[in-house]
Amino acid sequence: MIRPILAFTIALLPASVLAQETINVGVLNNQDVSVVQDILYPKANTKEFGFHVGWMPFDAFTTTPLAALTYTSHRSEIIGYEFSLGGGYGLKNQAYRALEEPEYAIAPDAYRYLGSALLDAQFSPIYAKMNVGGNRIFHHDVYGLAGFGLTVEQAIIPDNDLAFSPTAGIGIGARIFLGGGRALRVQLRDDFLVQIREKTSSSQGPFIKQNVALTVGIVKLKR
């Protein structure tokens, strides 16, 4: 009984009395307004350990399965530093085998990838989420990387010459966060090698070789 009477009494109060109490906050500019995506999977100050597998399918004469271990230190949400240790074995592809046939009897002086050790800086400015089929939301980031290191390759011709090549690389990738500190990482990387090939070193300067690798890995982020 009392509540309806109270409500009726309040209703009789002039509304303009409430609206007249204002607070001056000054001028509001666009840059003051930010829409913040709640970062469910922060990377800042985490250590990331990863195992990756992939392939280098784009060379004219070799096709290379490879694997890599990575250790990344995320200094912030955007900047991180990574050490990568990779290994693989370049195989002769169909073009190489065709050239070796008696019809051509030619052996390209191709070198197979054996391994690499690389230091990279990562820049991951994008954090986003995607809706897959309207059923599930995946949080992910997108990053670019650049770095340098050393790549070891070996001649396919039976002299088995080893080439230790200074390497610079760039790449692009994405982490799809799976929860529990894990993420699926997909990366495309292009390494540029400065390679000296022993059999032609007297007549030919260093070769610039590109190794383009597509890798998929599982990483674990820890604080």
């Binding site: 030619i106 002299d159 070769f207």
Partner: protein, 439 residues
């Protein structure tokens, strides 16, 4: 779309990695075999009547040498012989060529012979019984001599002296009617003339076509008399003319060189026959004894050969790693037969080289040559390995050397590949890659 463009660019960029290219020798010779199948293609046309006796005597000398111990026949009389043979085998592989000998003639078209029906000796068909002679046959020398004398040589009775005192089995330096009667049977050696159109290259090709179980397409060209019914016709029940992994050596002897049908008259480029030989996918060497052409004229030309006939044979022998020798030479203004035994010694050397030398298809940059046997690199021979430093033809204790006259890599001593080894020789061709790459 931008992502696809980036991916495509990266793929193209990586696919454009630069490479140097090495030629590879040894591909078709995965097994280093000691088998040599030697096919003699003898001109038995009437133009050879003057050379018949010398041909017979020279071949007699050749086969005697080949079948002697000096020529590689093995004595196997007990354990000492077996041990000696084994040591010799490893020290000098060349002496242990496992050869087969067979004979055909330069006649291809049966219509131009004594009879219009196809007969042994024509179109690459072998002569003799047995037609294929093996090193291991008890009387290979006698059988070879009979096949040459009785089946592949043109004899005219009027040209052959008689010797009524000759008895069968006597040694002789002169071919007489009685000698031929003893070797071939009474009168069986007379008038054995083949076609006057000498086609030794075609005859050799057809002989090989008849000697393999799966002849390549080139054998069935309409231009030749070879048909599917001729497949294997040169093989005997216990022996194939062309064995697996063997090297084929063709020895052409004739006074009119070559007028084979797949080449136009006047054409000196034997590419069509080289490609035909290549289709058998094994090494084939061609040796020829014929008219001597010095680039200007044929000074001794009893058969009336044209210079282009001689030139194409010389080209074939050079390009296949064989050799060409003159049948006659001018001595004191007169033409006289050369001593075939010297040529045939060269043939023996060629057989020896089959096991130790690997011919290259292009002239190499010698510094770029790398040789491997079963994946192990063989080092090049050095001056310290020379056996006789002052010898005109260098021989080495070990390693490999490049022979520019043969355009071949020769292995020496313990580095001679053992039988069935896989040999690969990589080299940069001096004039760039000869073939168009497929990309």
């Amino acid at each position: 779309m931008n992502g696809i463009r980036t991916l495509s660019f990266l793929a193209l960029a990586s696919g454009c990695n630069n490479h140097e290219y090495f030629n590879v020798a040894g591909y078709a010779q995965a097994n280093y075999s000691n088998d040599a199948d030697v096919i003699f293609v003898i001109d038995n046309s009437t133009s050879m009547r003057e050379e018949a006796s010398d041909l017979a005597l020279n071949f007699t000398s050749f086969i005697d040498t080949l079948t002697s111990e000096a020529g590689g026949a093995q004595s196997t009389n007990g354990l000492v012989d077996a041990a000696t043979n084994f040591i010799d085998l490893n020290a000098n592989h060349g002496r242990y060529i496992d050869y087969q000998l067979a004979i055909t003639t330069t006649a291809v078209d049966p219509l131009l012979g004594e009879s219009t029906a196809l007969e042994p000796g024509e179109a690459g068909w072998l002569v003799g019984d047995p037609a294929i002679l093996s090193k291991w046959d008890a009387d290979v020398g006698d059988a070879f001599r009979r096949n040459i004398l009785c089946e592949a040589t043109y004899w005219k009775e009027d040209d052959i002296p008689a010797d009524l005192t000759y008895e069968c089995g006597d040694e002789t330096d002169v071919i007489t009617q009685q000698y031929l009667d003893c070797e071939c049977g009474m009168g069986n050696w007379e008038n054995n003339a083949g076609s006057g159109n000498e086609e030794p290259l075609e005859a050799a090709l057809l002989a090989i076509c008849r000697g393999v179980t799966d002849p390549p397409e080139v054998c069935f060209d309409p231009i030749t008399p070879f048909t599917s019914s001729d497949m294997g016709s040169n093989n005997s029940p216990d022996r194939d003319l062309i064995r697996d992994d063997s090297t084929i050596v063709v020895v052409i002897v004739g006074d009119e060189a070559d007028n084979s049908r797949r080449m136009e008259q006047g054409d000196t480029d034997p590419e069509v026959y080289l490609q035909a030989f290549e289709s058998f996918d094994r090494p084939i060497r061609v040796v020829a004894i014929g008219p001597g052409w010095d680039g200007n004229a044929i000074p001794c030309n009893s058969g009336g050969a044209q210079t282009w006939m001689v030139e194409r044979l010389q080209a074939v022998t050079s390009l296949t790693g064989g050799f060409y020798a003159n049948m006659e030479e001018r001595v004191d203004g007169n033409c006289s037969p050369t001593d075939y035994s010297g040529h045939l010694i060269e043939l023996g050397q060629l057989l020896n080289d089959l096991l130790t030398s690997f011919q290259l298809q292009s002239v190499p940059n010698v510094d770029s040559i790398r040789a491997y046997t079963d994946g192990v690199e063989i080092q090049p021979a050095t001056d310290a390995d020379l056996i006789e430093p002052d010898a005109s033809t260098p021989t080495y204790l070990q390693g490999w050397s490049y022979d520019s006259s043969q355009n071949a890599v020769t292995f020496w001593g313990p580095d001679i590949p053992t039988f069935s080894s896989e040999v690969r020789i990589y080299y940069r061709p001096l004039l760039g890659n000869p073939r168009q790459l497929p990309f």
